[in-house]
């Protein structure tokens, strides 16, 4: 699957980490700008998957990058920089979600505008399928939704997903499998 979102290369990352370690505190703004340019779309993608609501995802991206700005000086390279950023994004999304009033509908509605589907019947079926999927995703546990969201992000390798989640590779696959089975049972 291809999304067109540029990957965050290890070379760019190493340069940024080196800059963080050797640079003055005034460098923090410059590093922050580079990080925003490189990762904003991917962070949004992750938050959007987790929250299934564009406005909330935008808020989560803002919270995430504010947390990055405040914590960037403390980053010591125990993990990849992007891994650290994705963890913050997951945390920011969970916090946004916990602010939702109980019982209200927060998932973006499936648009009714015509798409490239071949005919009206196919279009209606596709829309209905998407609605079913949205409802089913809403009922998943955070553990299952998080793993599905990370795998739905284009270009994120399974090893990095394991690093983001902090679990062994085998656990990632079994968690993904369990999430998909649960999703299938809900659809």
């Amino acid at each position: 699957m291809s999304s067109g979102v540029a990957a965050f290369s290890t070379v760019e990352e190493a340069a940024l980490v080196a800059r963080l370690r050797t640079g003055a505190s005034s460098d923090r703004d410059a590093v922050f700008d580079v990080l925003f340019d490189l990762l904003h779309e991917r962070v949004f993608e992750l938050c959007r998957h987790l929250l299934r609501n564009r406005a909330e995802a935008e808020d989560a991206v803002q919270d995430c990058f504010m947390a990055i700005y405040r914590g960037i000086g403390r980053f010591r390279g125990a993990s990849r920089l992007s891994t650290w950023v994705y963890r913050i994004a997951i945390h920011a999304s969970l916090r946004i979600k916990s602010r939702r009033p109980r019982g209200a509908m927060h998932v973006d509605q499936v648009p009714d505008e015509p798409t490239n589907a071949p005919g009206p019947d196919d279009l209606a079926a596709a829309r209905e399928g998407t609605r079913h999927l949205q409802r089913a995703l809403e009922q998943l546990s955070e553990e299952h939704r998080t793993v599905l969201s990370l795998f739905a992000m284009d270009g994120l390798g399974h090893q990095e997903i394991a690093d983001v989640l902090g679990v062994p590779m085998g656990t990632v696959w079994s968690r993904l499998h369990a999430a998909r089975k649960r999703l299938a049972s809900l659809i």
Partner: protein, 220 residues
Amino acid sequence: MKPCEEFELQIEMRLHGALHATRAAALDAHLSHCAACRAFETLSQETEKNMTAQTMADVGAVDWQAMREQIRAKLKGDSRRRFKMSLLVLAVEAPAIWMMTAGHAREVLVKFASAWAILVAVLAFATWVRFRDMRRYEQNRSDLLFFYRWQLERGISALRLIWILLPIALLGLALPSGPHSLLHWVGVGLLALFFLSLVTYIRLVRVPQLQRELEVLKGR
């Protein structure tokens, strides 16, 4: 493991480019006669395609430049808010201390300092424990969601204990030996009000916020 479970795992691995070619051939052979696994494969592909399509449509619709400016504005606003809060605390505490010290300057200041020392020591210890745990977590790579859950549970317990700090602080402040002027008791009242507001905020706003976060994490 159920008969098809191993193949379902392999379907996921192939979908994400992690299945070796030799195992892929065996998977194809299985798929050719297992309708359930074919359905599972279709569901996996469709789910991801659907999730990705909707998200990517939204990526293009966001005004990123405006967002970057909003983040910068919020960061600036944060510093200003922190500065204003510090001024507010000073504005409440300085007159309160001045009132309380009337006639008992040394004694009240010593008690006030000990009350604050207790508070600061407890907060410093809590912060140190938090940083130590964060570092340990980064080194051990424990499960992210489990770590958040554990951290929240501990945070909630710690904040609930803050009730104990209020009587300690008040005892330290309000019981210098008498006789006291009315001004002294106004000062005590002001400080008591300050602590009470702090604890009420923690108990009625912050703890419920953290509890909601915990519920989300537990999937309730």
